[in-house]
Symmetry: C2
Subunit: 629 residues, 2 copies
C-alpha cells in the first residue's frame, strides 16, 4: 500500500481555506498513485476555536467542506479530521450534537466502523485538561454507548477500506498517552492491518520524545505499523498561543520511527507499507530529546505566525540593556528586515550609562532602527500634576492633598514608557510593541500593569529567567553565529532601574535570586502535583528541598534561618496568588512552549493568597524558640 | 421533620473559613431541634477555583474539613457539598480522582446511596458550558458506571437517613434544567420522601424565574417537596466575576414555592415538613421575573464583594460627563463613604464645556471628592516627542521620520487619561481606578487598550448601552430617590470627545446607533444559536430582521440601501472578531449579570474576521445591479 502523510498547516476557524489546501494535495496524491492519504485531526475546522463550535453557520460550513473532500475521494482513500454532526440530537438549549471525528472517504463515500451509528470514527478520549476543552464541545463515546445500549468496545472498531482493515483513532498529547493503550488494544485485537492516529497536538518541550517512545513501543507490541499525522500552524485560546510542529511520524513493527521533517513546516511523507505483515523501516531515526534550540524554533515560528494572524509587519521593542528585551529584539530581528524593527531605549534619571550603552550596542549588532527617548520630562509633569494635588468636594469643602510614594513613582515610570511612548511609537511606526516579561516575573507579578506588562504578545512569558539566558546564548552562538546580545548584558545584574536601590553599577537589582526562585516557582506552576508552601516547608524541614525542586546550590546559604526562609517563601507565594493573578488577567497573549503556560493552560481564579493548616503548624514549629539549645 | 436550609456565603478556595462558618450553624440548629440542616453544593471548597483542584494540599484540606463536619453531625443530620476523593484511582499523570459530591453526615457517619461505591452522592450531570468546567475536574457518573459494570440508574439512588428516604441531587443552572428530569425521575420512582437539590449557581438575569417554574412543576409531579439550597458570595474564573444570589427555595407538592430572602444575603429558612405525605405551603410566593433592579442588586453586591476580595477601600472614577462613567460613579457612591470616592474629569481641548459641567454636577450630587486634571500639557509633550521623530540605525544611517496620525492622537489622549493620570491618582489616593466600558463598546473594541479599557474591574461590561441608560434611571428613581445622574447626561449624544468630529454640542459622537447595534450585537453574543452575518443578511433579505433581533425601528430608515446595510454589518462584525477579541484578552475582569458575559463565559480565540460561503453568495446577490428595473 502506498500511503502518504499530509502534514498541512491548519488555520483555525477557516474551513474553506483549509479545504482549499487539501484538495490539490488529494489530486497530486492520486496522480502519484497513492492509495491512502492522511490529513490531521480537525483538518477542516481547526481545533482551538473557543465557542465558535456553538455557531450553526460555522458547523454547516464545516459539513459542506467535508462533502467536497468526500467528492474528491475518487480513486484514492482520504482520511481526515472534521467535526461530526448529528443535527437530530440536540441539547435542550438547541446546541447541536457534535463529535470530534475521523472520516474515511473512499470512492465518493464515507465509510465508518461497521457496527457504529455514524459514518465516521469518534474520538474515544476527550482531553479536558491544560488548554483542552474537548468535552465542552464534543460528545463522549461513553454517553453514546449508554444511549445506544451498547458496550463501549463495540463502538471502537476498525474501518474496512478497499486497501486494508484500518485501525483509526484520534489521539492527542503526552498527558494521557498511556490511555491510548485502551482504544489501541481494542483495535489491535480486531486484526487491523495498520493503525492510523490523526492528531492536533501543540508543541510542548519534550512531548515528541515521550510520544515517540510510547508509540514505538505500541507499534512493536501490535506488530503492525502505526501512523501519526499532526498539523502545523498556530492556534490560541485567547490568553495562550500554541504552536503546532507537525512532527508527523510513522512507527514500524519493530520500534523504529521516521519523522516528517523539518518541524514547523508543511510536508508530506510517502511510504510503501506491506499489507498485514510486519514491516521494518530501512533507516529509522534515533530517539532525541528536545533542547533550547527546539524552544527557540517554536518561539520564532509562533511569533511569526501570530504576526501574520494580526497583520503585523513592523515591531517596536523597548530595550533596557537587560537580557529579556535583548532576546526579544534579537528574535524579532530573525523575523523582520532591519527597517521594520525599531528598538528604543527609554531612560529616566535612574538608568545607568552602562545599560544605555548596552541598548545602543544591541541595536548596532542587530543593524535595526534605534531611538533613545527620555521619560524625564513626562515623569516630572505627572509628578507636578499629582504629588500634592488638592482634591475636595464639588463645593470646595473637605479638601485633602494626595501624595505619590516612591513605589508609585516607579510604576509611573514603567507606565510612561509603555502606555505613553511605546504605544505611541508603535502607532507612529505603523506596527505594535512587544511585552518582554518572562515567566519568573509573571509568576509573582514583578511587573507593572499598563507598563512593562503591556504589549501585543508576550513571547518569552513561558520561559523562566534562567531559560532566557540560555536562549540568549543560543541566539548568539547558533542562530546568529556572532555576538548580537552584548556580553555586558549577559553579565549584568538583572534590575528594573526604577530607583537608586536598583543601581546596576553598584550590583543592585531585582529582589529575585533567579537560580533559586526559578526552581521554586517551577514547582508551584509546572510540577505535576502543583506544590504549595505546605510541601516546600516540609522539604525544607526534611533537608530535601534542593533535590525536590532541582536547585544546584544550598538553600541554607541563601537563607541563614528558618525565619528568613519562611519570610521569602511567603513574600513570593502571596504575590503569586495575589497581585500576580490580577496582573495575569490583563496580560497580553502568552506564547506557550512548555506545559502549564499561564493563561488558558493554567486556569486561575482570583482568590487571594492561601495557606493550609499543616503549613501553619509546620511554620509555628520551625519558628518556635529551640528547646534543645 | 424540621428542616433548615442554610444559605451561607461560600468563599472559594478557603475550606477552613467555610467550615468555620458551617460549624456554629450546625450547633445552633441542633439546639433548635432541627432534624436536617442543608448547606449548598461545594460549601467547603468553593466551586469556580480554576486549576486549584489539581493541588493535593488543597484536596487534603477539603477532606479534613469534611471530617470536622462529619464529627459535628451528632444528634442532627448535615447535608453539604464537598469534593469527593478517591485517592486510589489516579489519572496516569498523577491527578487524583475527584467527584462533585453531596455528603450526608448522620450520627458521626457519612451515609451514601446503599448500592453506590462511595459514601457520598455523585453529581449526575456535569455542566461544561458557559463558565462551567465540571468535567475538566470531576469524574462523570457514566465513566464510573462503565468502570463498575453497573447500570447508570443503579448508581442514582436515594439515601436512607434516620428521618426519611432522601432523594439527593446536585443540580445547577437553567441551561440544562430540563435534564434534571432524568435523575429526579429515577429518584422519584424510588419512593423518596423528599428531594434535596444542593447547588452553586451564579446569578443570571431571569434564571430564578425559569428555575422556579421548572422546579415547582417537578415537585408537583413528584407529589413531594423539593428543596433547593444555593449559596451567596462571588466566585470568578479570572476573566469573569460571578455573583451568587442564594435564592434558596422550597417547592411544595402543589407547585407553590417559598424563597430565602433577601437575595445576596446569608440566611436560613426553617420548615416543618410532614414525612412522606403531600404538603402545601401556607403562603406560597408568586412567580416573578427579574428586572433592572435585580441586575442593579447583582452589580452592587458583586462590586462590593470584589472590592473586599482585592482589599479595595478607595476608588477613583474618571468621569467624562457621559452616562457610563456617571453610572459607575453612582454605583460606587452606594458602596463607599464620600471621602473614599474620587471622581475626576480629565479634559483635553476637545472636551466641551457641556460635559465638563455635567461631570462637576455629578460630583456635586454624589457629594464625593472631585478633581479636574487637564491632559493638554502631557498630550502636547507626547506629540513633541513622537510626531516627526527621526529614527535611524545605531550608526546614524537609514534615518526616517515618524508621524502621529489623528487616530493615533485620539488613542494618546485615552491612554494619557488612564495609564498616566488615573493609575497615578489611584496610587496617590491609596486605591484603584475603574473601567467604565459597556458591553456594546467591548463587543467591537470601541475602546483604547491601556486607556479607557484599563481598570481593576469592569462592572458595567455585561450591559448593553441601552441597559446602562435603564440602570441610570433606576439609580436616580429608586436607589437614590433623587437626581444624582444629571438629566443633561441622559440627554447627551454619546461621544468619546477625542476629536472635532465628536463634538457633542453639534450633536456629533459615537459611530454606533445604540438602539439598533445593541440588538445586532446581542444576536451575535447572547442569542442561543449565536447568529452570524449569514443569518443577519438572510433576515434582512427576508424582511424579518427587526423581528428576529428585537429592534423596534425600521432598518430601512437607518440604511437606505443594501450596500449601506452590508457596509455597516461588515464594519462591526470585522471589529467584533478582529481587534475586539485582541482587546478583550487584555481587558479587566468583567462582572457577569447575564448569559454570555465576555471572558470565561464566552470563550474566544483570536482567529480574525470570518464570513461564510452562503454569506458571500447572498451579499453578491443583494449587491448585484437589479435586473428587474
Amino acid at each position: 500500500m502506498k500511503i502518504r502523510l499530509a502534514q498541512i498547516e491548519v488555520r483555525p476557524g477557516r474551513p474553506r481555506e483549509n479545504t482549499a489546501r487539501m484538495l490539490p494535495l488529494i489530486a497530486d496524491a492520486r496522480q502519484a498513485g497513492i492509495d491512502i492519504i492522511v490529513f490531521p485531526e480537525m483538518a477542516i475546522p481547526g481545533y482551538l476555536i473557543g465557542d465558535e463550535w456553538e455557531r450553526s453557520a460555522f458547523l454547516r460550513e464545516c459539513e459542506r467542506c467535508g462533502e467536497q473532500v468526500r467528492q474528491a475521494a475518487a480513486g484514492i482513500t482520504v482520511i481526515f479530521g472534521n467535526v461530526g454532526l448529528d443535527w437530530k440530537r440536540r441539547n435542550e438549549d438547541g446546541r447541536v450534537r457534535k463529535y470530534n471525528a475521523l472520516f474515511v472517504a473512499e470512492d465518493g463515500h464515507f465509510i465508518g466502523p461497521a457496527a457504529g451509528p455514524y459514518p465516521f470514527v469518534i474520538k474515544t478520549l476527550l482531553p479536558n485538561y491544560r488548554e483542552f476543552d474537548d468535552s465542552r464541545h464534543f460528545c463522549d463515546l461513553r454517553k453514546l454507548a449508554l444511549e445506544e445500549h451498547r458496550e463501549l468496545r463495540d463502538l471502537i472498531a476498525p474501518v474496512r477500506s478497499r486497501h486494508a482493515l484500518l485501525g483509526c483513532l484520534l489521539c492527542e498529547d503526552a498527558w494521557d498517552m498511556d490511555y491510548a493503550i485502551a482504544p489501541l488494544s481494542v483495535l489491535g485485537e480486531s486484526g487491523a492491518d495498520l493503525f492510523i492516529n490523526i492528531s492536533a497536538s501543540p508543541f510542548t518541550l519534550n512531548k515528541n520524545h515521550k510520544r515517540n517512545r510510547v508509540f514505538a513501543a505500541h507499534a512493536a507490541r501490535l506488530g503492525r505499523p502505526l501512523l501519526y499525522v499532526n498539523h502545523t500552524g498556530i492556534q490560541n485560546n485567547g490568553k495562550t498561543v500554541f504552536t503546532f510542529d507537525g512532527a508527523s511520524c510513522v512507527y514500524d513493527s519493530h520500534g523504529g520511527h521516521l519523522e516528517c521533517r523539518p518541524a514547523f513546516a508543511e510536508g508530506i511523507l510517502t511510504l510503501d507499507i506491506p499489507r498485514g505483515a510486519p514491516w521494518r523501516l530501512p533507516q529509522p531515526l534515533a530517539l532525541r530529546e528536545d533542547n533550547i534550540g527546539d524552544a527557540a524554533d517554536a518561539l520564532l515560528y509562533g511569533t511569526r505566525r501570530f504576526m501574520d494572524l494580526c497583520g503585523v509587519e513592523r515591531v517596536v521593542v523597548g530595550v533596557s540593556g537587560g537580557v529579556d528585551s535583548a532576546v526579544v529584539a534579537a528574535l524579532y530581528r530573525r523575523l523582520l528586515p532591519p527597517e521594520n524593527l525599531l528598538v528604543v531605549n527609554l531612560p529616566s534619571r535612574f538608568n545607568s550609562r552602562t545599560t544605555r550603552s548596552l541598548a545602543h550596542q544591541l541595536a548596532g549588532h542587530l543593524e535595526c532602527l534605534y531611538a533613545e527617548l527620555p521619560i524625564e520630562d513626562s515623569v516630572a509633569l505627572t509628578r507636578r500634576q499629582l504629588d500634592g494635588l488638592a482634591v475636595c468636594r464639588a463645593d470646595g469643602t473637605h479638601a485633602r492633598r494626595l501624595e505619590l510614594s516612591d513605589l508609585a513613582l516607579e510604576n509611573v515610570q514603567a507606565r510612561d514608557r509603555s502606555a505613553r511612548l511605546l504605544a505611541g511609537l508603535a502607532a507612529a511606526f505603523g506596527g505594535v510593541f512587544t511585552c518582554n516579561a518572562n515567566k519568573s516575573e509573571l509568576t509573582v507579578g514583578y511587573t507593572t500593569l499598563y507598563g512593562d506588562l503591556g504589549g501585543y504578545l508576550a513571547n518569552l512569558a513561558d520561559l523562566w529567567k534562567m531559560e532566557v539566558y540560555a536562549l540568549a546564548a543560543h541566539l548568539n552562538e547558533r542562530l546568529f553565529g556572532r555576538v548580537v546580545i552584548p556580553p555586558g548584558t549577559l553579565a549584568l545584574t538583572p534590575s528594573a532601574e526604577l530607583s537608586p536601590a536598583q543601581n546596576v553599577d553598584e550590583g543592585k537589582g531585582d529582589p529575585l535570586i533567579y537560580p533559586y526562585h526559578d526552581q521554586l516557582f517551577r514547582c508551584w506552576v509546572e510540577r505535576w502535583d502543583r506544590a504549595t508552601p505546605e510541601e516546600v516547608l516540609t522539604w525544607y524541614r526534611d533537608g530535601s528541598l534542593e533535590r525536590e525542586i532541582g536547585y544546584g546550590g544550598r538553600v541554607g546559604d541563601l537563607f541563614p534561618t528558618p525565619a528568613a526562609f519562611i519570610a521569602d517563601l511567603e513574600r513570593w507565594w502571596t504575590l503569586y496568588q495575589g497581585m500576580g493573578v490580577a496582573k495575569r488577567i490583563q496580560a497580553p497573549p502568552i506564547l506557550a512552549v512548555k506545559k502549564r503556560a499561564f493563561g488558558f493552560d493554567h486556569r486561575e481564579s482570583q482568590m487571594g493568597p492561601r495557606y493550609s493548616e499543616p503549613y501553619d503548624a509546620l511554620k509555628a514549629c520551625l519558628l518556635a524558640p529551640s528547646t534543645a539549645s
